[in-house]
């Protein structure tokens, strides 16, 4: 091919509409329209705040999950990890309340503990995967079982609850906010924006995509593959801890059913958002859209008696499968 015609086609931008980019957004807009049509309360401040605040936990975790999956990994343990970290945090805060009373330092200590134990849990997953060389699926399947069983044991099969006065002090972290926007929503937005920047505009994000795309090429390009991969799990662990910090003041308790199936919801959100499950390409804003789609489905079913809310899982499942079908199509067209 000669140079002349080659240059000619390089100037116009892609005319084709990219289904992978537009798909999730169109689905989200459609859901909002359906919600508006079915229930006038759908767009009310209370409902929107409620939906967004509740989805912020999974959202914060899903941002971390996007990095893990983009780098070709997977983490099934995050739901159990969240429950375990929440239980640990409550136990320690209750112990500290006995000594220090109902004071802010107890909350700071609890927050620090949640973040650190999330980090350590992520580090354990990451080290087993990168240094010992066990597959991510197996490692995190194992730790998922371990953390779930540990929280059940800590709570002795029941529920761990934060002391009543402490709960009152900590409560505003979930229910309060600024300018009418509650803290968990602000936290989710902040994590998402930083995540998007890190993914798209830093060497770390680029390296994650490179490793997920072809690990050998990454290694030959002098990228510290194991270290980057380890970092994705640690980052996810810290974000799980952060999500717990937002979650505990909501109910003030943790039990064996805390965070149940969060891992699958987070992975589903990542995939719906257009990140490739096999790695190599990820986008945070897509994950955010995925999280919103999943929680809006649940919310709409709850607000209307059109379809039983018990069918929530079925509809979410169908959406996940549909998203992957669209991804395939997009990949084939390219």
């Amino acid at each position: 091919m000669s140079m002349a015609p080659a240059q000619k086609i390089s100037t116009p931008a892609r005319r084709r509409i990219d289904l992978q980019v537009v798909g999730p957004i169109v689905a989200l807009i459609a859901l909002v329209l359906i919600g508006m049509a079915l229930n006038s309360n759908f767009l009310s401040y209370a409902n929107i705040t409620n939906v967004l605040a509740r989805s912020s936990f999974i959202g914060i975790i899903a941002v971390g999950m996007t990095f893990v999956i983009t780098a070709g990994g997977l983490d099934l343990s995050v739901g159990s990890m969240a429950a375990f970290v929440a239980g640990l945090m409550i136990l320690v805060m209750n112990l500290l309340t006995d000594r220090l009373g109902v004071t802010l330092p107890v909350i700071f200590a609890g927050v620090a503990l949640a973040l650190i134990s999330g980090l350590v849990a992520g580090l354990i997953n990451g080290l087993l995967i990168t240094r010992v060389g066990i597959e991510a699926f197996i490692v995190t399947l194992g730790t998922m079982g371990i953390y779930r069983s540990l929280i059940t044991w800590l709570a002795d099969g029941g529920t761990l609850s934060l002391g009543f006065e402490m709960r009152e002090l900590y409560r505003p972290v979930y229910y309060g906010g600024i300018a009418g926007i509650s803290w968990p929503i602000l936290a989710f937005v902040a994590v998402a924006i930083i995540g998007e920047i890190v993914m798209r505009h830093t060497a770390f994000g680029r390296h994650c995509a490179a490793i997920g795309s072809n690990e050998r090429v990454a290694r030959y390009s002098s990228i510290a593959v194991l270290r980057v991969r380890l970092a994705t799990y640690v980052l996810l662990g810290v974000l799980v801890g952060f999500a717990v910090v937002m979650y505990v003041p909501r109910l003030g308790s943790a039990s064996a059913s805390t965070g149940l199936l969060w891992e699958l919801e987070a992975i589903a959100a990542v995939i719906i958002g257009g990140t490739l499950l096999k790695g190599g390409f990820g986008r945070i804003w897509g994950t955010v859209v995925g999280v919103l789609i999943l929680s809006l489905i649940g919310n709409i079913l709850n607000l209307t008696d059109f379809v039983s809310p018990y069918l929530n899982g079925a509809i979410q499942g169908a959406v996940i499968i549909l998203a992957v079908v669209l991804q395939r199509k997009g990949a084939a067209d390219r």
Partner: protein, 501 residues
């Protein structure tokens, strides 16, 4: 001359606005080896894919025994005995050799698989190919040439009428090529029609009956091989006279940049030593599997090693790719698609991958990246229809140029280049040779690993040869001949200079 069994008449093919084939006529006759040659991007692959039923033409006819026909899929074509051997292997890595050979056409006894029969048949086929591979082993454990042989055995196991071979010798050593040629000739004698592509024109002269040259998607010449010289073929491909393929050799200076003492990679390389001077192009020959790639990878920190490596007078720690790069030593892999480039990413992402820290931090400066890509496209004459396209859609030659640009981005002093021109057309080869000579003249030290002897002889001022993990000899000046390299590569001249180099 027999009638054509499979032919193309007035074939054109467009991908979107780009026409890659224009009015091509091509005939395959039973008992004839027809070479299809051309530069990368000339339309060879597209022609082969149309013949093999993988894609449809935009205009024109495909004729089977003179009758217009249409293959809805490659399976339909295969059912008629048209088999295409791809450059990228179509093998199930985790299955055994015999399971691969009979994949989809398993021999059965009643409802059960007849493992014994398949294994025996596979052993016979491999025997005919003079390939000593156990039919029971997994394909993933085989070397690249051995995998190639398995592909060929797979083709042989069918009722073969037309065989389409996409650069089968690109990954083979000369000895393996000879075995392959004997097989191809045997198939010709049996009346199989064969399409053969290669960038090595000597092979075309040696093996083929007829040659068709493509340039920019159009047929520029078709003639019996006896009527056309290799120079004429090359000129027809490039569209101009090729002056000397190899540039003048740079003169090595005194300063030693790289000193390797008794480097060993357990099981692969045994106490190899060398010195590399500023301005020197040192050749490293040997058969595939002789340890040359592993030697270079160990130098670059990609493999664990023992022994001492001094780079510009300072010790270079083992297994630290990053350190090697920062200190000015880089390795260009022979496995362009598997280890060199991210095929599903764009040019920019690939170019800057090893050196992102140079493009701003913590945030990447995309404009600086684009500027770097501009420079690379110009400096390395990379031809990309769209700079945002996926690198996997570039032609092999342009991929190689991009890989060179990527590897050289850090302005290294010592450059290890493994198979600089594998699967690349002659025009691009010339550019890459000129680039290598230019780098040496600027004061870089370059180690060129190659299976192509003319390349070693044409580029290097000194050639080391490896055999079974050892450096078996060093050749210099007029001693650098194909014969001498082959003898050392086969381990025949072991006593000549010992392991010293």
């Amino acid at each position: 001359m027999s009638d054509p069994i499979l032919s193309l008449k007035g074939i054109s093919k467009s991908f979107g606005p780009i026409e890659v084939l224009h009015d091509v006529d091509f005939e395959l006759r039973p008992g004839e080896i027809h070479a299809l040659i051309g530069e990368n991007g000339a339309g060879k692959s597209t022609t082969m894919k149309i013949l093999g039923g993988y894609i449809d033409a935009t205009a024109g006819e495909v004729l089977w025994h003179g009758q217009p026909t249409h293959f809805p899929s490659s399976d339909e074509a295969e059912a008629r005995g048209i088999v295409m051997i791809h450059q990228e292997f179509n093998l199930a890595e985790h299955l055994g050799v015999d399971q691969n050979v009979f994949l989809g056409r398993e021999i059965t006894r009643g409802w059960r698989l007849d493992h014994k029969a398949m294994r025996t048949r596979t052993a016979e086929l491999l025997d005919r190919l003079e390939c000593r591979v156990d039919p029971a082993v997994r394909v993933s454990g085989l070397s690249v040439p051995a995998k190639q042989m398995v592909e060929i055995a797979k083709a042989l196991s069918r009722d073969l009428r037309v065989l389409i071979m996409d650069e089968p010798t690109a990954v083979l050593t000369e000895r393996e090529c000879e075995i392959l040629f004997r097989q191809i000739e045997r198939l010709r004698a049996k009346g199989v029609a064969i399409l053969y592509t290669s960038h090595k024109l000597s092979e075309v002269t040696r093996l083929c009956d007829r040659v068709t040259v493509l340039r920019d998607g159009a047929m520029v010449r078709s003639a019996p091989v006896s009527d056309i010289t290799e120079e004429e073929m090359a000129a027809a491909m490039v569209g101009r006279e090729l002056s000397d393929l190899y540039p003048a050799k740079a003169v090595p200076r005194d300063e030693v940049l790289l000193e390797v003492e008794n480097l060993s990679v357990p099981g692969v390389v045994e106490s190899a030593s060398l010195t590399l001077r500023r301005g020197e192009v040192l050749g490293l020959g040997g058969l595939v599997g002789s340890g040359r790639t592993e030697f270079a990878e160990a130098l670059a920190g990609l493999r664990p090693r023992e022994g001492r490596v001094r780079l510009m007078g300072e010790d270079l720690p083992a297994s630290e790719v990053r350190t090697a790069l920062q200190r000015g030593l880089v390795y260009l892999t022979e496995d362009r698609k598997g280890a060199g480039l991210l095929l599903d990413k764009g040019l920019r992402e690939n170019l800057t991958l090893p050196l992102l820290e140079r493009f701003g931090g913590p945030l990447i400066d995309r404009r600086a990246e684009e500027a770097a890509l501009d420079r690379a496209i110009e400096e390395f004459a990379i031809r990309a229809p769209d700079r945002r396209m996926r690198v996997g859609n570039l032609s092999g030659g342009n991929q190689q140029k991009l890989l060179l640009a990527k590897t050289l981005l850090s302005d290294p002093q010592v450059i290890l280049i493994d198979e600089p021109t594998r699967g690349i057309d002659i025009g691009t080869k010339q550019q890459i040779y000129a680039l290598i000579a230019g780098l040496a003249a600027e004061g870089c030290a370059i180690l060129v690993i190659s299976s192509e002897m003319p390349e070693l002889i044409g580029l290097a001022s000194r050639v080391l040869v490896m055999h079974a993990g050892r450096i078996t000899g060093a050749l210099e000046g007029d001693d650098v001949t194909e014969g001498a390299i082959v003898r050392l590569a086969m381990g025949l001249d072991d006593n000549r200079e010992g392991a010293a180099a």
